[in-house]
Amino acid sequence: MSNHNEKYEKLAEVIKAHKEQKGALMPVLQEAQNIFGCVSEDVQKIIAEGLGVTLSEVYGVATFYSQFSLQPKGQYVAGVCLGTACYVKNSQKVLDKLCSELGIQPGQTTADGLFTVQATRCLGACGLAPVMMINDDVYGRLTEAEVPAIIAKYKAS
């Protein structure tokens, strides 16, 4: 519970720090997403009140950008790069394998809340294509055959 309150206190601080700044909404949403892992409706309401803008404006911005998520993500976020360099090196197959292993579609989270699968654009490691990232770990020069073992590692930990 205290953890919960701490988060809301932090959000209040962030809003205070940015209130006078031009174009404050984006940076505040970004920090809110860092604090809570997503920007749920109640967080959006607090931001709208804090910055003195309408909720529909906050919602409009939050839904426009793919980085903002309205629902919480899994403990491990697995992003397979579908940038051009990775795509021509068959990253689609890696993504398909990941989805079939976990039984979900890109953008979804497993029922146990462990994994979220995402198709991402260039992760900037094209030299290692095809590339997958799980949280901060990077897996390069992947083949779909390696996917099950990688997943198993996270399930075990």
């Binding site: 426009f64 793919s66 579908l82 021509v88 900037g124 094209c126 030299g127 290692l128 990077v138």
Partner: protein
């Protein structure tokens, strides 16, 4: 500054960091200290060296020995052999794919680097980007000092116009002209903006500059601010670039500390400061008007031009926006002069261009060549050709706005105008190579999928039109193409090109049009013969078992739909009506008995 006998440069760009360079640095420091060399040898984390394929990369100076794909286990050997005893560790030295024996060891004699001319990337991989003193030691902030103390704003603009520098963000608009427009607008406040949104998936030159040489962008923006009369700058960076953001912020802080940003810079009376804004994953925000709406904190939707940013831009004030690589060239132009810059490249296309070379190519990485360099040299001399003995099929430039260039145009001299003339474009510099296994219809589908995903939805031709094109392409790749589909695609493409509001929609049909132009027969094979000549499109493949089959039953056991029949030690068969074309059997067969066609 302390004097060191040797320097160990470890690449700390995103590519090499992904392949573990941070652990290398820690290990080097530990081992160097252990061997009592810490007063003699210095470890420096640099920006990207360019040859990401060989990462993590380590260069040891003064010799310039180029070590590649170094693992933590290799560090001890480099320290005890090279740094302690002065003996190169031959088996860790980078070897060219084509080279017969070990011959070279240094940056200067590697084929990948020899034809290159590193201007915008001059400091990347050379200096420590987190230390402003190193930038200053390489003539950093000299151009700003010169401009602020000796030149009038008009002089700066004239020099930029004379240099012929064109915007590296894709459009190729003359930078000096743009500055002239912004300078001519009268206002109490103007802004100068750097576009570091780098949306082309598969391109990373702007990121590498920010990671490897952030001060060059800061210096150039201050120069631009002086020229147009702006005292505030914004850098809009993709959120996916955490290392770049961190180093840029550090660089801004250091520049402030040194008085190179802030009030009364160099005692000239000129004030200038700048701020970072993060993107949030919307490709359309790379478009300049959308980018400004995003900095203002709104939805990043483009607005019609005119009014141009030079008249009414960020916060409704006159603004100038340039790309990262454009800025990186500017201090050099001021220091060495417009005539020098103009002498590089081709008439109307001065200077160099950085490309992110990727895909089916031996040397993936960052490449900078003079304008006018033949495409063939980039692919074969620098890129080292196509891996695994496969045939070159096409190179894609310009990202989702660009097109595919076939082998028949490999001898073209790369510049803005030549690429446009063959139906592609320079774009921001992504260059993705494809081989015989890539299906061009599928590549067109891939890019349309991207634009449909990224269309902001503000105007109908882009929102609905690209979706219709994607549906047709999906049908074709799934074997449901119909007579007349090609004509429908062409009609839609031309319609969208001429009616969409912003550059995203206007250029979205290009990948389709260029593949139709050069690879029309592949479209026809998909539609008329239900065949994918590259054997890529899953739904059009037929798996067959040949007489190499030994009857091991491995395929039958792995098939998820029981489409394979046959007894032990006898030839197996695939029931093509049951087969879902998953490819598992082919992967499993140890005798290479299963083929797809």
């Amino acid at each position: 500054m302390d004097l060191f006998r040797a320097h160990v440069l470890v690449c700390g760009g995103t590519g090499c960091t992904s392949s573990g360079s941070a652990e290398l640095i820690a290990r080097f420091e530990e081992q160097i200290a252990k061997n009592g060399l810490d007063k003699e040898v210095k470890v420096i984390r640099t920006g990207c060296f360019g040859l990401c394929e060989a990462g993590p990369v380590v260069i040891v100076y003064p010799e310039g020995t180029f070590y590649s794909r170094i693992r933590v286990e290799d560090v001890d050997e480099i320290v005890s052999e090279h740094l302690l005893k002065g003996r190169t560790v031959q088996h860790l030295v980078y070897k060219e794919k084509a080279a017969e024996e070990e011959q070279h060891a240094t940056l200067e004699n590697i084929d990948f680097y020899r034809p290159q001319m590193r201007l915008a990337l001059r400091n990347c991989g050379v200096i420590d980007p987190e230390n402003i003193d190193e930038y200053i030691a390489f003539d950093g902030y000299k151009a700003l000092a010169k401009v602020l103390t000796e030149w009038k704003p008009e002089d700066v603009i004239k020099e930029m116009i004379d240099s012929g520098l064109r915007g590296r963000g894709g459009g190729g608009f003359p930078t000096g002209k743009k500055w002239q427009f912004a300078a001519a607008s009268k206002a109490d406040q103007k802004y100068i903006i750097c576009n570091a949104d780098e949306g082309d998936p598969g391109a990373f030159m702007d990121r590498s500059i920010l990671e490897g040489d952030p001060h060059s962008v800061i210096e150039a923006m201050a120069i631009g601010g002086y020229a147009i009369g702006a005292t505030e700058g914004y850098v809009y960076v993709r959120a996916e670039y955490p290392i770049a953001v961190k180093r840029l912020q550090l660089a801004i802080d250091q520049a402030r500390e040194y008085g190179l940003l802030g009030k009364n810079i160099f005692g000239s009376g000129f004030d200038f400061d700048m701020y970072i804004r993060l993107g949030a994953g919307a490709f359309v925000c790379g478009e300049e008007t959308a980018l400004m709406r995003s900095i203002e904190g709104g939805r990043g939707e483009p607005t019609p031009k005119p009014p141009f940013p030079a008249v009414r831009g960020l916060f409704d004030k006159p603004s100038n926006i340039n790309n990262v690589e454009t800025y990186a060239n500017i201090p050099l132009i001021i220091n060495k002069g417009a005539d020098w810059f103009k002498s590089i490249g081709t008439p109307g296309n001065s200077g160099t261009k950085v490309f992110a070379l990727g895909g089916k190519i031996n040397n993936t990485g960052l490449v900078e060549v003079p304008m006018g360099t033949p495409l063939r040299d980039v692919i074969y001399k620098i890129g080292g050709g196509i891996p695994n003995g496969k045939a070159f099929k096409a190179v894609q430039t310009g990202g989702p706005s660009g097109g595919c260039i076939p082998a028949e145009h490999l001898d073209i001299a790369i510049d803005y105008d030549s690429l446009t003339s063959i139906g592609s474009m320079m774009g921001s510099g992504g260059m993705i190579v494809m081989d015989e296994d890539n299906c061009m219809v599928d590549i067109a589908r891939f890019f349309l999928d991207f634009t449909v995903d990224e269309s902001c939805g503000k105007c109908t031709p882009c929102r609905i039109g690209t979706k219709r094109m994607l549906e047709i392409l999906e049908r074709i790749t799934e074997g449901k193409g119909e007579e007349g589909d090609i004509e429908k695609l062409e009609a839609l493409a031309n319609n969208i090109k001429s009616t969409a509001l912003c550059g995203l929609g206007q250029t979205a049909p290009n990948p389709v049009l260029s593949t139709l132009k050069y690879f029309r027969s592949e479209y026809e094979a998909h539609i008329k013969e239900k065949r994918c000549p590259a054997h890529h499109c899953q739904k059009l493949l037929n798996y067959e078992i040949t007489d190499k089959c030994r009857g091991c039953t491995a395929c039958a056991r792995v098939c998820p739909v029981n489409a394979i029949t046959g007894s032990v030690k006898e030839m197996h068969h695939i029931d093509t009506t049951k087969c879902i074309k998953c490819g598992s059997c082919m992967e499993k067969c140890r005798f290479g008995a299963i083929v797809k066609n």
